[in-house]
Symmetry: C2
Subunit: 131 residues, 2 copies
DNA sequence: CTGTATCCATTAAGATACTG
DNA sequence: CAGTATCTTAATGGATACAG
């Protein structure tokens, strides 16, 4: 049975589940920061990842912890100290992240120029777009 | 200058822009289908990707076309015929998709068991979570 | 320091019906 | 066939304030 029900696009695409787990606006910056700079406290993450609010940071960290990609260590001191670290499972994404980063440097410019062409193209009726 | 402004998480994470372009609920199934089964018409894509509505399919296809990952060919016939095909730029994502698919088969089970552990863990006060 | 609690804005997506 | 037009809902995220 597993997690597949017929309403999910997973059936047609084996990477959809990974997208749900790893790729959202703030999860990749968090994973990247933990992977690149190592174990960090809550406030360090907040400072390193520009403009993320504590609410959202907490939400994403909880999700990553639940999915086993990040570990959370609570030190019962005063004031409290909590450290987050990427897990082995999270680290297993590293080569994929490296590949994506490389794709970005190689191809982001092409995407941007494609957009300029598309946005600047005079809309002709025969194309069926923007009659 | 490019596209970077200080409100984006791109500064801290070089793969955030790729996430915006490639990874959303329906873009990966669309790219996967076009890459795996080749050039397809609108209705073929709709049938192959279960439960996607024409509105959403149109939206994602337009975005992918604008970003240069997919090409759209309009044949002015009656009834009209439109074919979508993955572009060279889109095809350049193939190895990354293969890597993600492999990660999925290897690690999705670990994620699921991590979730079971997390959800079933008795919440102790000392962890600082769920007092 | 490490979060919660509210409230609000934005957006992707789903349901449904309709057009050239 | 290949979409568009509306309307509604759900999910994220942002702003701000406050608590242990």
């Amino acid at each position: 049975m597993a997690t597949v029900d017929s309403t999910d696009p997973e059936l047609a695409c084996p990477i959809s589940p990974v997208v749900d787990i790893v790729f959202s606006r703030w999860t990749t910056p968090i994973l990247w920061s933990l992977h690149t700079f190592g174990r960090q406290r809550f406030v360090e993450l907040q400072r390193g990842i520009t403009h993320i609010t504590p609410k959202v940071l907490t939400q994403r960290l909880r999700q990553l912890e639940r999915d086993g990609l990040v570990t959370r260590t609570y030190h019962p001191e005063v004031p409290p100290r909590v450290e987050y670290e990427i897990s082995d499972l999270g680290r297993s994404l590293a080569p994929l992240f490296a590949g994506l980063a490389e794709w970005a440097t190689d191809n982001l410019g092409k995407v941007e120029s494609a957009r300029r062409v598309y946005d600047g193209a005079e809309p002709r009726a025969v194309t069926g777009r923007r009659a």
